[in-house]
Symmetry: none
Subunit: 216 residues, 4 copies
DNA sequence: AATGAATGAGGATTCATTCAT
DNA sequence: CATGAATGAATCCTCATTCAT
């Protein structure tokens, strides 16, 4: 778990170098928050698991909540990374000649993302409903952007006649719903199953494509 | 909120009379648990909101956890009520000549259920990952039954050639995913929107039906 | 255990008839007080063990402390019963021609008493240091009487030259110490041992008699 | 005789990495436990008397029970210190040519011990019957060792013909009973009396020696 | 930067006692 | 008489946070 956390945080905080202890604290916090929930986790347990004195946590993070935010906030950005890449439009026009390819790329990309960031994603899911600031941050900066981009894409493929001309919120909802449903089943609900991911992905995409195919 | 709670608990405890205070406690607990999460809710706050001495809570529920279970456990049963109705088979064969009708009945039924039990459903969703006993209860008594029934239904309509002969777990996952995705969006993610439920339901069903239509 | 408790309390409260429930309460209290100590015993546990509602205890005994006193106080009187029998002087002069016989009678009598009242004796021992009123009661009404009588007896046998003419407090202390030490070992310290009581008593008396024999 | 004192103090010093506050806590706890009993003492009262926040107690002692044990357990060892000194055998053979001298040394030694540790001894006496772990600890590590040593000594002096050849448990019981009886009377039962300790000790030893003298 | 002792407000829970039924 | 629901003060204990070192 260490590498990707360091990596992830360096992305965001490229200038502020993390101490070794600081990293250990984040690692411990991620594990404990993700298994017990934020409210049920104690800073002393985190300190212990991090091999750090209790006070040390508060030298780096003013409050327990701060610690949470320092974990979840950067993850938010990465959650929508594929939707805000600068060359997304280019990609949109050239790389994905059809909705199916786009879906396949998206699903695979987010799948790897989920695979490597599962604990933090869990934390995010659990705390979004309770932490108002997180919730707002999510709605304002994340959801709106994803929806915006998805709308562009949907419009694009609808114009091309590739998918059914339903209102774009409906198309987005249906697509995303199935996509997230798959990830949810794969990683959260039944992670212990022996999934044939390739095949499931194809079933899933095929399902969406037929569901959204223009009616004749 | 009072009526349906009373109703719900009368279902379960038709003989055991709840005190007035006990009911107040449950109501307060439901509201507080659902807005702050179990771990972040304090019994003293519950007592205050219920207009009851804190000790009174513990006269009726040995533990805070007990109070949670007394709220969530009966809800579990009702969660799958439509799947274990005695006359389900009859219904299956006669009332729903096709998968579409079945889906429509199911989606509408669960929609009403969600509408009337939203707070407790929230509690359930939030606590399932953290309360091991709840989780196990859910997997053993709820999920397995739903899956079992869904498999029967899927097999039935697959035999009739109404839906694509994919492995039933896949069919179930795709159907349920879309269904739950809709309920989730409607009631949890964007409840403040002005939904045209009838139309959304039709879009959703249409999407599933085309997604699962036999390929020619 | 029931009979002797009833008996004991009827001795004291010969006029006020105990309810069945009241008796049950006393029985339960004796058992629980003696195994957990007064402070660590809860009235609710007593009520439960007595098969009685919590409130019922307080109908008969105004406070938990009252309940304790109602158990211990009558036992106090019986503790010194042999020392205040009306015909004690007669007995003194006629029945016990020597100190040895007196000791033997005393030791056997108190032994039976201890055997039949062990739990209450335990309660008394444990609570005497903590309950000031009990303590005072004990010193004023019990200890002083025993000492007074013992002094008479000691004086008597010292005058007869049967025992060493030490100050009577010393003689009393040594005699009583050995006696109680034996009872303590027999019933409290090592009750599970297989005691040959007759022999131990003879050893004990012989020890005291030689220890107090006039020096030549 | 100073040796065991030195040793005893080393026992105490070795573990003293005590904070000032920690010491205050122990002092307060000893006083309150000894006057009200463990169960009737509240941690808040201890904290108050120690001039410390209540939380501080639990930083040093996980549990109220832990606090009790940290007071009583080391006292247990010191209770039998004179019986487990390494050079006890030497002492046995050389320093105490007769049982009387041994008794005198023992009684004086334990008397000083009692004088200086009265409150903790009280705590021990009160809690031994209720705290199972303490009880077991006492029986296994303390009582058995004392009895073992006493048996050696008794055997020794019986072989020399100095004391009556009764079964050693009887001899031990009688000796210890009188000794403890004296300490009990002196320090617990009638501490306010103006004791002539030297004389009482001599009376007591004389009593035992005559009681255990070989019959002719 | 790091520690860890100290804090005190707040946590869940227990308890003796009361009172309407 | 007996009940048992209700109480609220008190209990033991936890926790996030501070601060002197």
């Amino acid at each position: 778990m260490e590498q990707w956390i360091a990596e992830m945080l360096q992305l965001n905080d490229s200038e502020s170098k993390m101490t070794d202890k600081q990293l250990k604290i984040i690692e411990a916090a991620v594990e404990i928050f993700s298994t017990k929930g934020f409210a049920a986790s104690s800073t002393s347990e985190i300190a212990q698991k991090a091999g750090v004195a209790e006070g040390t946590i508060f030298r780096h993070y003013k409050t327990k909540k701060d610690l949470l935010l320092s974990i979840v906030t950067p993850m938010m950005a990465r959650l929508i990374a594929p939707f805000i890449l600068k060359d997304f439009n280019k990609v949109l026009n050239s790389a994905y000649p059809n909705y199916e390819d786009f879906l396949r790329a998206l699903i695979k990309n987010r799948m790897e993302f989920a695979r490597h960031n599962l604990p933090i994603i869990k934390i995010m899911l659990h705390e979004l409903p309770f932490q108002n600031d997180l919730n707002q941050q999510f709605k304002e900066h994340i959801a709106s952007k994803v929806i915006h981009r998805m709308k562009e894409i949907t419009d694009h493929f609808q114009k091309e006649g590739q998918i059914i001309p339903l209102p774009s919120p409906v198309v987005i909802r249906l697509s995303v719903t199935v996509l997230i449903g798959f990830l949810f089943a794969r990683f959260l609900l039944l992670p212990e199953l022996d999934w044939d991911e390739e095949q499931e992905i194809e079933f899933t995409i095929d399902f969406i494509m037929h569901g959204l195919a223009p009616r004749n």
